[in-house]
């Protein structure tokens, strides 16, 4: 009796399991039955929680929003803002009142019209919300609707870079109807008026967007774009190499030689963010400018760029090079002896330095951190590398000041130097994350204030060049390099544009 029972149950378990597996396969294949039409498959490294313009946690989020929403202005590939939804613009004499005339007849993906009311709604929505991107609109004091397509914006004081902010990927205009209907769920089913409209989001797997046939601009080639989430860089490279995907973002430079040898794959590149180590000036040994300069001499940046990053970076000649009008402020050549001497003079030989490194946040960050530590040790400092695996802990540790140097990267998503310099160099922001090293220089403060109010472009350029020179000498950071961003795609796909500030490609001009 027992034997019969056991056989009975054994079989049952087997059959149930097989049926379970089989039904899963079938259901999965059914949902993935591919409809006809030209499809572009893009491999994206990191998923994000939602697509609401109010809040951004990753660059890949920008890319999706860039396709789904459009904005008053947009960026050229040189990060200059040019009109998009705006057809006529003017500024008052005192520079604080801007009048914009919008394109007429534009409709959102749900058919409702995109008019001045919608723009006003979008701006006020962000200002009232709690998202981190409301900083884009803090300088806007008032928005007036003067007709179906006319908008008047008043800023709080001079703000010449308003157009940059309005061209930012998160300045997308949202459909008021959809937002009011969906409320909190808007971020999961966004409705904009961009060249592509949102279609489907399978969390953890992919997001699909389909072509907006009512788009006023050039009609995009691809009917559908599937953004698939693949976290591992090598896997992305392998997939593109094997022809299992069309485009792969953010590849690792060590996968490049193999891809370059493949005639079916083409590699696009663009200069991306600047990577550096912020030095904590509030405590020894980096409170002494000699030690800070020494550190800059101690590291062989060219070797790091060549051997660790496989040539995917160029040593920095200034701080934060990914902004408009950047200049060559100088170069700290590799001079280990000078470094040692400087450190000895400052009496800092053997000083303990805690080096914080993120992992997998920036390209090969852990490797570079270890290399830097190695060089600093040769120069006489006692370095301890602490690698913190996740961004929240990293930010936490930085905020608590438990470090002597930590790695950061700045991309400059608006392309405007004020944004970059103010947050990182102004003494008002000393102690906050981006100026955790506590850099204070009243002369720089003054220059930053001047620059933000200066409308004259050449005067502006000079002010920012001066800032860069001063800061280069003060050496609040260990200036490292500027990364090159690589995107690989099938060689018969043309016209993929990449926005340098956010290192993000966009595909509505792409075609085969």
């Amino acid at each position: 009796m027992l034997r019969v029972l056991s056989l009975h149950y054994g079989r049952k378990i087997l059959i149930t399991l097989t049926l379970l597996a089989a039904t899963s396969f079938i259901s999965q294949s059914v949902t993935h039955a591919a409809p006809a039409g030209r499809v572009l498959t893009v491999l994206v490294p990191a998923e994000f929680p939602h697509l609401d313009p109010g809040e951004t946690v990753s660059g890949d989020q920008y890319m999706l929003k860039y396709h789904i929403f459009n904005r008053l202005f947009t960026f050229t590939d040189k990060m200059d803002p040019v009109p998009d939804l705006v057809v006529k613009e003017s500024v008052s004499k005192d520079g604080t009142t801007w009048t914009f005339d919008l394109r007429s007849g534009v409709k959102f993906h749900n058919g409702t019209p995109l008019n001045a009311e919608a723009v006003k709604y979008t701006i006020e929505r962000l200002q009232k919300g709690t998202g981190n991107q409301k900083a884009l609109y803090t300088m806007i004091k008032d928005v007036q609707v003067k007709g179906e397509t006319r908008l008047v914006i008043t800023t709080d004081g001079l703000f010449p870079a308003l157009r940059n902010n309005l061209a930012h990927p998160d300045a997308g205009i949202v459909s008021p109807t959809a937002d009011q209907k969906l409320g909190k769920l808007f971020g999961k089913q966004p409705v904009g008026a961009g060249p592509y409209k949102f279609s489907e989001w399978l969390t953890g797997d992919h997001i699909t967007v389909v072509r907006n046939d009512q788009y006023y601009g050039q009609k995009p080639f691809y009917e559908r774009i599937e953004f698939k989430f693949v976290t591992d860089a090598t896997t992305r490279a392998l997939m593109v190499d094997a022809g299992q995907a069309d485009v792969a973002l953010r590849l690792s430079p060590n996968d490049l030689p193999r891809l370059k040898a493949n005639p079916l794959v083409k590699i696009d590149q663009v200069l991306g963010r600047s990577i550096y180590f912020a030095l904590n000036e509030t405590k020894p040994p980096f409170n002494d400018v000699r030690v800070r300069k020494a550190v800059n001499y101690a590291v062989d940046k060219q070797a790091i760029c060549d051997r660790i990053l496989f040539g995917a970076a160029k040593p920095s000649h200034s701080l934060v090079e990914a902004v408009q009008g950047t200049i060559n402020a100088g170069f700290y050549a590799y001079d280990p002896d000078r470094a040692k001497t400087l450190i000895r003079e400052a009496g800092a030989t053997g000083a303990k330095v805690i080096l914080l490194s993120p992992t997998t946040r920036y390209l090969l960050d852990t490797e570079v951190s270890q290399a830097v530590a190695g060089y600093l040790r040769q120069a006489g400092l006692d370095v301890e590398v602490r690698a913190i695996g996740d961004w929240p802990s990293f930010i936490d540790t930085v905020r608590r000041g438990e470090f002597n140097m930590h790695m950061l990267g700045w991309g400059g998503s608006t392309g405007d130097p004020d944004n970059a310099f103010r947050i990182q160099l102004h003494s008002n922001n000393a102690g906050k994350l981006w100026n955790a090293g506590g850099y204070r220089n009243p002369k720089v403060d003054r220059l930053i204030e001047e620059g933000s109010k200066e409308f004259n472009l050449s005067k502006r350029a000079k002010i920012y060049a001066d800032i860069q020179k001063i800061v280069w000498d003060d050496a609040p950071w260990l200036f490292l390099y500027r990364l090159t961003i690589f995107i690989a795609h099938k060689s018969d796909i043309k016209d993929i544009h990449i926005l340098p500030g956010t290192e993000m490609p966009y595909f509505w001009f792409a075609r085969q």
Partner: protein, 270 residues
């Protein structure tokens, strides 16, 4: 002794030797970087090649053995130190103590191994001490269960009854009479748990939450070598094979001990 067991013993012996005497070998410093020499294939100067920062791979593997064994033995030590007395007491006294014990063990066992270790490391932060703790936490219920089961079985036996009748105090009974008899099964579990502990430690390091990146732990080395896999597979093959061989040896030993000492333990692999 079958050949496989000789092999297993040899490997473990080698591992132990290398772990203890490692620094004495005339090998380059496993932490010494040489960026210009990065990613070299095996050569006369570097028998196993160099990694992405120019460090000698062979010396890092040798140094890594120390860490792996540390994690393995450390976790087992934690498990024995806490699990053994727990199980012994529960099995000996029975009743309420036993019931409470069983509940606690159930809760600990409700967490799948890696999840628990991940959660612990997320709280305590990286570092080898925390890693040993995290992995060790998982072995505690295993040892507790085994010692409890064995103690329960032994408690009924005549010689234990006799000892108690003769007036031995409880801890004397446990120490002199029960303990020596459960050493056998415990050794089996210990050897198998060492393998599991090393594996979980390597997995956590692979996920990037185990040890600091400069530390030459095998799992971490595998993770670091992964981006270079396509052009320089030796960075991944060498630590992977070493891990596998070490695990094989430990499993062979564990199986052998089990076959010789106690054929009942077919299911309690966890």
């Amino acid at each position: 002794m079958p050949w496989s067991v000789r092999f297993g013993l040899a490997v473990i012996g080698l591992l132990g030797l290398v772990a203890v005497c490692g620094p004495l070998f005339p090998l380059p410093d496993p932490y010494a970087q040489n960026i210009v020499n990065a990613l070299q294939l095996p050569s006369a100067m570097h028998w196993l090649g160099t990694d992405s920062l120019g460090r000698d791979l062979l010396s890092r593997i040798v140094a890594g053995s120390r860490f792996s064994l540390l994690i393995g033995f450390g976790a087992v030590a934690v498990g024995l130190a806490i699990g053994l007395p727990f199980g012994l007491l529960a099995g000996y006294y029975g009743g309420l103590v036993d019931t409470i014990f069983a509940r606690v063990i159930d809760i600990l066992l409700a967490f799948p191994g890696i999840v628990l270790a991940l959660a612990v490391v997320a709280i305590t932060g990286p570092g080898i001490g925390n890693l040993i703790l995290a992995v060790g936490l998982r072995t505690i219920p295993v040892f507790a269960r085994v010692s409890r089961a064995e103690t329960l079985a032994l408690r009924q036996r005549d010689f234990v009854e006799a000892a108690r009748a003769l007036g031995c105090r409880p801890y004397e009974v446990m120490y002199w009479h029960i303990l020596p008899n459960i050493v056998g099964p415990l050794m089996i579990v210990a050897s198998l748990q060492t393998a599991t502990a090393i594996l979980i430690g390597a997995t956590l390091s692979f996920l990037g939450v185990g040890v600091s990146p400069e530390v030459p732990e095998w799992g971490a080395m595998l993770n670091a070598g992964r981006p270079y896999m396509m052009g320089h597979p030796h960075l991944v093959l060498v630590p992977g094979c070493t891990l596998m061989i070490a695990m094989m040896a430990l499993n062979i030993m564990g199986d052998y001990l089990r076959d010789r000492l106690d054929p009942r333990f077919l299911i309690n692999r966890d």
